[in-house]
């Protein structure tokens, strides 16, 4: 009996040691299949709320990726376009600007929600709530961009017709933030680091803070999406990318000062103070708390109500959401 136990233990040790030996030059948890590719491209934009993507590099290396590139793209719809057109493989991106190109048939797959709470609606003294946007001038960089899409969805939520009720101001030469600071518009939707800057400059008031105010705080803002073909061809790599991003999100929550400094050092943002403030305000460690499908359904419904998309939420989800990797990781990683 003793011999049996020793033999079993010996074999188990041998097996584990062998496994460990095999993994010494590969990635973590090496008994998982190796990624089908060791190259991955992620987008780089002006916004800082996608911080987990910016500090994911070390986690991606742990997962076996060697060639990690950050490709500059426009934010929001620009990121979605870059994913669809195979300029990047993955990006964290806002939920609403993902739904619109998916509705148009772009090959994008949504994999998970990562965090909520990015955007804040700023208004002047004439705006006390979203419903007050009726008849007001609201600045957006361009129609169809993330702020426009989010604001349209928010307006629809309170019964406004964003096409008729809001006077959209677009000006390519100046940002909505500056237009607002100059008193030329009544409201604008800010994404980090804009809200932090506006509050530091004591300009305007926060009408909606999506990190706090319902229902926005209950839905994901940034979701991880990838190129449909990449995900089809590289399922192991996809799961590893998602795991790296989720670990990076946790790092953002637990070590905001270090993450802010790394983002400045790596050139993702110039202002440490605004980056740190955003990292402390955005709830990065709550990816397990919300249902990403709820988020897609919610925004798809709002966008459909106002005619920005045609497909039903169920069709968007059925065609372009893949929760397999998230579900596996939810079982494997808690916290």
């Amino acid at each position: 009996m003793q011999m049996m136990q020793n033999r079993r233990r010996f074999l188990a040790t041998l097996s584990a040691a062998g496994a460990a030996g095999l993994t010494t030059t590969s990635s973590s948890l090496g008994q998982e299949p190796r990624p089908e590719t060791t190259a991955v491209r992620l987008s780089k934009v002006n916004g800082t709320c996608i911080a987990p993507q910016y500090v994911a590099e070390e986690f991606l290396r742990l997962e076996g990726f060697v060639d990690i590139k950050y490709v500059s793209t426009d934010a929001g719809v620009g990121q979605s376009r870059a994913i669809a057109h195979n300029e990047v493989d993955f990006s964290l991106n806002f939920a609403a600007p993902l739904v619109i190109p998916i509705d148009a048939g772009e090959p994008i797959t949504i994999l998970a929600g990562v965090h909520s709470g990015c955007f804040e609606l700023f208004g002047n003294d004439r705006v006390r709530g979203i419903a007050d946007l009726r008849g007001k001038s609201v600045g957006v960089q361009g129609l169809g961009g993330s702020p426009h899409v989010f604001l349209a969805a928010m307006a629809a939520h309170v019964g406004l017709d964003p096409l008729k009720d809001i006077n959209w101001i677009t000006d390519q030469s100046i940002t909505p933030k500056e237009l607002f600071a100059q008193g030329k518009i009544d409201a604008f939707l800010g994404f980090p680091p804009e809200p932090q800057e506006m509050r530091a400059r004591k300009i305007g008031r926060v009408i909606v803070n999506s990190a706090i105010d319902r229902p926005w705080s209950q839905y994901f803002c940034c979701m991880l999406a990838g190129n449909k073909e990449f995900i089809r061809k590289h399922p192991v790599a996809t799961k590893r990318v998602l795991r790296a991003i989720l670990k990076a999100a946790e790092l953002c929550a637990s070590e905001p000062a270090r993450v802010a400094q790394r983002m400045v050092d790596a050139g993702f943002t110039p202002r440490y103070d605004y980056a740190l403030q955003a990292l402390k305000e955005i709830p990065y460690a709550r990816w397990r708390e919300y249902d990403p499908e709820d988020t897609i359904r919610y925004y798809a419904l709002r966008l459909r109500e106002i005619g920005m998309i045609k497909a039903s939420p169920n069709k968007i989800i059925a065609d372009s959401a893949d929760w397999r990797f998230l579900n596996e990781l939810r079982r494997e990683m808690k916290g």
Binding site: R9, A12, T13, S15, A16, A17, A19, A20, T23, T24, S28, L29, G30, Q31, E32, E58, F59, L62, E63, R243, L246, K247, E250, L251, A253, S254, E255, R258, A285, R288, E289, D291, E328, R330, R331, E332, M333, K334, G335
Partner: protein, 199 residues
Amino acid sequence: MTMRAAIAFAVAATAALMLSGPREARHDVSLNPPLSKIAPAPQFTLTSQDGKQIALADLQGKVVAVTFIFTLCSATCPVLTPMMSLVQDRLGPDFGTNVAFVSITIDPERDTPEMLKLYAQMHGADVPGWSFLTGDAAAIQDLTRRYGVYASKTADGDIEHSFLTSVIDRHGIIRVQYLGVRFDPEEFRRDLLSLLRER
């Protein structure tokens, strides 16, 4: 089912839901799904706070929680270690006999066995069941990588790291990893006990 049985069932189900928390109740099909088998736990042999050699293989047959800390950490380790200490106490007689904790330093240059011993005492660690390990810096660096933990020394000599606590079953398989330090200690305890109940 009688009315009394129905009420008892409803109360029990509600209590189970409350204990498991709204997050699980909302997303999980089952309140206690079996933990998945992730991968064989990377093996190690390191030096304990008492100067003894401890190998993961020595703990086979026990459910083991492996985590990575350093004693001079002022940010998040002081959250994790007391939480594990709390779970240690709540495990009662199972702790040490059937469940073991292993905290491996990611700062082996400063964390000598003596330092780890002080740290263990400071946190009320029941040391027969909870080992604080140090060793060769390169070996520990490799181990952190194999467990999926990121750790890097900063220019000012501090250590930047992620938290990942791996729960290993009695057969040496990683079954779940707890990310960060804000996890629910009760869920952690339940997972440890669920692995004890497995054949």
